[in-house]
Amino acid sequence: MINTVVDIGLLGLLLATALLMMRSQSPLSITILSSIYSLIICALFVVLDAVDVAFTEAAVGAGISSVLFVAVIRHDDEPSNNKRGNNKLGNDAPELKSAWPSGLSICLGLALGILLISGTADMPLYGDPAAAIHHYLAPRFLGQSGAEIGIPNVVTSVLASYRGYDTLGEVVVIFTAGMAVLLLLAFMPDQKIKSEVEGVSTTKRRGKPPRLWSRRTPLIANPVLKTVLLRFVPIVILFALYVQFHGDYGPGGGFQAGIIFGVGLITFGLLADSEKLQNVISERMVISGMAFGVLLYGAVGVAALFFGGNFLDYSVLSESQTAGQHLGIFLIELGVGITVASTMLSLFISFHRRHFNQSQDEFPG
C-alpha cells in the first residue's frame, strides 16, 4: 500500500516536473527543474533497490550536469560573449522563444507512448517470481558467484567479472566523452586563431577576465560556503574512497566513487577558484588520469592473456580462483574510478578554460 502511494507520488512529481520544463522559458529555471527531475529519478532508483545507480544519478544528473548547464548559461550571459548585448550583468539568463512543442512532435510522443503502453501488456509484473529473468541466468549469479568470485555483492560480481568486458566498454565510453570534450573545447581553432591574427598571444594579456563560476569575489568569501568547503568537501572525498573500496561488499564501485570524487573536487573548484583546483590537479594530470584508468583496466585483461587465460579472466592472476578474482576486480574498479573522476574534472576544467580564453580575448586589458 505505502509502496504504491510512494510510487504514484514520485511518478506524479516526475510528470509535473517534465511538464514544467516544457513550459518554462528561462534556461536557468529549466536547468534547476532538470536537476529536480534527476533527484526524483534518483529516489525512484532507491525505491527499485538500485542504490548504486541512485548515487550516480544524484551526482551526475543533479550535480555535474547542472553545474555545466549553469556555466553555459552564464557564459552566454557575459556581455562580451553575448551578441545581443542587452543582458545586464546579474540579470537572469536570456529567454527562450517557444514554450510549447509543435503538433507533430506531440503526436509522435503520444504514438510512442501508446506503443510503449501496449507493449507492457505481455510483460511480467515487476517483482513477479515467475518472470524469465529470474530463472535463467540469475540463479547462477545468485547461487554460485559467492563460490566462483568470492565477494558478497552480486552486482559487483556480474558487473566486474561475468560481464566485465561490458564494463570495460562503458569506461571507454566515458573516456571517449572526455576526449570529445578535449577536442571540442580545448583545441578548437578559433581561440588560437583569434590571438594569432591580432598578433597578441593570450598570455600577454594582463586583464583579469570575468569569472565563470562566481562573479566579482570568490564565493569562498561567504562564511557559510567557506564552512561548507572546509568541512564538507573532505568528507565527500573520503566518502568517495569508501564507496570505491567498499564496492565489493555494499552498493558502490568505481563508477560511483569516481563521480563522487569528481563532485568533491568540482565543489572545491566552484567555491574556491578553478585556478586553485588546477594547482592541486593539473590539466595534464587529469588527461593522463583518463587514459591511465582505461589502460589499467586493459592491462588487467592483457595480463590474463599472458597468464594463459582469456581476456579479462581474473582467475588466472593468482594461485586460487577467488584470490585472482579479488585482485582483478580491485584493479579494474580502481581503473574505472580513476577514469571517471578524471573525466568529470576534465569536463569542468575544459569549460572553465574555454570561458577564460574567450573572455580574455575580448576583455579589454
Binding site: L115, L116, S118, G119, T120, A121, D122, M123, P124, A131, A132, I133, H134, Y136, L137, A138, R140, F141, S161, Y162, R163, G164, Y165, D166, L168, G169, V172, V173, F175, T176, A177, M179, A180, L182, L183, L184, F187, P189, D190, K192, I193, E196, V197, I287, S288, M290, A291, F292, V294, L295, G298, G301, G309, N310, F311, L312, D313, Y314, S315, V316
Partner: protein
C-alpha cells in the same frame, strides 16, 4: 604460439585499437600518434585477414570473455558473415588511416592531432566490437563508443557548420541508440538472456508476443537511424559533407555498413527470419523504404550544389540497394546485399578520397566553382569518374555486379518488378554523375583566376573580404566572397605553389592548388580503384564470399566450437 594467437584473434581484433587509443593521448606527440594509428590499422587488417582465412579453413571462432561460458559471460563469435564484414571495414580503415596522414585535413591543429587520432581509433574499435560480438548488450556498448567518437570526429570539420551537423547527428543518433537500448531491455525482460544465439533459440521456442514485437519495432527504428535507411537518413548528408575529408572517407566505408550488419544479424539471428519476415511484414517495409530511397535520393543529389553532399546523398541511395537485398530475405538476396555492402564501400571510399583531394586543393566543394578541375587534378577526377560509373552500375564495374545479383535474387523470389526501381535509380544516378563529368571536364576554368589570385601577391586569409584585391577577376571581390559560402577563407590564400608550414595554423592554412598529391593520398586511392577494377571484372571471389556469408547467416551449420 600460433595456436594461442589464433585462439585470441577475435578479442585482439577489438582490444588492440581500444588500448592503443589512450596511448596516443598520453604520449601527446603527433608523429608517435600517427605511427601508432597506422600500425594499429595494419595489425587490425592483418587480424581480419587471419580470421577470414581461419573461417575459410572451417573454423568457427567462439571466444569467452573473462573465461565465463556463453549465456553468463560475453561471447565473441566469428563466422563467415562476421569475417567478411570485419575484412571489409578493416580494409577500408587501413586505407582511410593512410589517407588521413595526407594534407586534406590541415584544419585540425597539431596539438589536437593526437586526440583526433585517439577518437579515430576508438571509433574503429567500437565498430569492430559491434561486428565481432555475439551479445546484444555488448553491441550497444560498442555502438556507444563508435557513435560518440563519430560525433566528435565530424565536429572537427573545417566549416563551423560541422559542429552543428555533429550536434544534430548527436541528437538523432542518441534517440536511435535509446531505441536500441529499449529494445534490448525488452528482450532481456522477456527471455532473461543477452546472448544472441541464446535469444534466438528462446524466442523461437516461446514464440512472439507483443513485447517482442515492440522490441523488434524499436530496434528497427533505432538501427534504421544508424544505417541511414531512407526516411531516417536526415543526419547523413550534413554529417558527411561537413566532416573532415578523411573522416567522411572512414565513415562512408564503415559506420553505416556496420549498422547494416547489426541489422542483418538481429533480424536473421536474434529475432529469426521467420518472425521478422513472415510474422511481421518487415520485408515489405524494408523494400518500400529502399524503393523510395533509391528513387528520391538521386533526385536530391542531382539538385545538390555541393560536391561532397551530392555524393552523401548518393550514399543514401546506395544504402537503399543494400536494404532491398536485406528485405528480399532469401540467401541470394542477402548475398546481394553483402556484395553491394562491400562494393559500395570500396567505390564510395575511393570517391570521397578523390573528392577530398580536389576539395583540399581547390578550397571549395561547390560544383559551380569546380569547372575544368579535371585538367589539373586528372588522377583524382578520373578516380572519381570511375567510382561514379560504379555507382551507376555500368557493366564491367563492381556496381553492375552487385546490382545484377540483386535483380537476379529479386526475380528468383518472384518479385521481378523490383528491377524497375533498381533500373530507374541507376538512370537517376547516371544523371548526377554526368553533371559532375560535364562540370569537371568540359566547363571552362571559370574560377581559376579568382582561385589563383592571378598570380598576384598573397592575400591574407584574414584580410577583409570586401577590400581584398583579387587581380584578374572580373567579379567584384565582395561577390566572389559571398559566392564561396563554405571554404572561402581557404581559397583566397592559395596562390603560392609551395607548402605552407602547418604550424602557421589550423583552420585557415590552405593546401594550395599546386600542392602535389602526396603518396599517402594517391596510394590508397589507387589501391581502391585497382580493387574496384579487379572485382568488377572478376567478381568470383567477392560473390563467393558474400554467398558463403549469407548462407552462414541463413542456414547456420551445426557449430564446431574452436576452444
Amino acid at each position: 604460439m600460433t595456436d594461442i594467437l589464433s585462439r585470441h584473434l577475435p578479442i585482439l581484433q577489438v582490444v588492440v585499437a581500444l588500448l592503443i587509443a589512450p596511448f596516443c593521448v598520453v604520449l601527446g606527440s603527433r608523429n608517435l600518434a600517427r605511427i601508432l594509428m597506422v600500425s594499429t590499422a595494419v595489425i587490425m587488417f592483418a587480424i581480419s585477414v587471419m580470421l577470414l582465412v581461419g573461417v575459410f579453413n572451417g573454423e568457427v571462432y567462439s571466444y569467452q570473455l573473462g573465461g565465463w561460458a556463453a549465456p553468463w559471460g560475453i561471447e565473441y563469435r566469428v563466422d563467415y558473415l562476421t569475417a567478411f564484414v570485419l575484412f571489409t571495414i578493416n580494409l577500408i580503415h587501413l586505407l582511410a588511416s593512410i589517407f588521413c596522414l595526407g594534407r586534406t585535413d590541415d584544419n585540425i591543429g597539431r596539438a589536437a592531432r593526437p586526440v583526433f587520432y585517439t577518437a579515430w581509433l576508438l571509433c574503429i574499435a567500437g565498430l569492430n566490437g559491434m561486428v565481432v560480438t555475439n551479445d546484444a548488450f555488448n553491441v550497444f556498448v560498442f555502438l556507444e563508443i563508435s557513435s560518440l567518437s563519430t560525433y566528435v570526429l565530424i565536429s572537427c570539420g573545417r566549416d563551423p557548420k560541422a559542429i552543428l551537423a555533429a550536434y544534430r547527428y548527436l541528437i538523432v543518433g542518441a534517440v536511435g541508440a535509446t531505441f536500441i537500448l529499449l529494445s534490448i531491455g525488452l528482450l532481456y525482460m522477456q527471455t532473461g538472456t543477452l546472448n544472441i544465439s541464446d535469444l534466438s533459440r528462446i524466442i523461437a521456442e516461446r514464440g512472439s508476443d507483443r513485447t517482442i514485437i515492440m522490441a523488434l519495432s524499436f530496434f528497427i527504428i533505432g538501427i534504421g537511424i544508424k544505417c541511414a535507411i531512407f526516411p531516417l537518413h536526415d543526419w547523413l548528408p550534413n554529417a558527411y559533407s561537413f566532416a573532415p575529408n578523411s573522416v567522411t572517407v572512414l565513415l562512408s566505408g564503415t559506420a553505416t555498413k556496420v549498422a547494416l550488419y547489426v541489422m542483418l544479424r538481429f533480424l536473421h539471428d536474434l529475432f529469426g527470419a521467420n518472425f521478422s519476415f513472415t510474422e511481421m511484414p518487415l520485408d515489405i517495409v524494408l523494400i518500400l523504404c529502399a524503393i523510395l530511397g533509391m528513387l528520391l535520393a538521386p533526385i536530391v543529389a542531382l539538385r545538390e550544389s555541393n560536391l561532397k553532399r551530392m555524393f552523401a546523398w548518393s550514399s543514401v541511395a546506395q544504402i537503399s540497394y543494400i536494404v532491398m537485398g536485406i528485405g528480399i530475405g532469401t540467401t541470394a538476396g542477402t548475398a546481394a546485399a553483402l556484395l553491394h555492402l562491400f562494393n559500395h564501400s570500396i567505390i564510395k571510399v575511393a570517391i570521397f578520397m578523390a573528392v577530398g583531394i580536389v576539395i583540399a586543393r581547390t578550397g571549395t566543394a561547390r560544383i559551380k566553382l569546380l569547372g575544368g578541375v579535371a585538367q589539373r587534378h586528372r588522377f583524382a577526377c578520373y578516380a572519381m569518374l570511375f567510382g561514379g560509373l560504379g555507382l551507376i552500375g555500368i557493366p564491367g564495374t563492381v556496381g553492375f555486379v552487385s546490382k545484377w545479383v540483386l535483380v537476379t535474387a529479386a526475380v528468383e523470389k518472384g518479385w521481378w518488378w523490383l528491377a524497375i526501381p533498381v533500373l530507374a535509380g541507376s538512370l537517376a544516378s547516371a544523371a548526377y554523375i554526368w553533371r559532375i563529368v560535364e562540370t569537371l571536364w568540359t566547363k571552362p576554368i571559370a574560377t581559376d583566376d579568382a582561385m589563383d589570385g592571378g598570380g598576384s601577391a598573397p592575400l591574407d586569409a584574414k584580410a577583409e573580404g570586401g577590400s581584398a584585391d583579387i587581380a584578374g577577376s572580373k567579379k567584384s571581390p565582395g561577390a566572389i566572397f559571398r559566392e564561396r559560402s563554405e571554404f572561402d577563407r581557404t581559397r583566397i590564400k592559395d596562390d603560392t605553389r609551395k607548402y605552407l608550414p602547418a604550424a602557421v595554423d589550423l583552420e585557415h592554412t590552405p593546401t594550395t592548388g599546386g600542392t602535389p598529391i602526396h603518396i599517402v593520398e594517391w596510394l590508397p586511392l589507387m589501391v581502391l580503384t585497382g580493387l574496384a577494377l579487379w572485382f568488377g571484372l572478376n567478381a568470383s571471389f567477392t560473390s563467393d564470399l558474400a554467398l558463403r556469408a549469407a548462407a552462414s547467416l541463413i542456414n547456420p551449420e551445426p557449430m564446431n566450437l574452436s576452444q
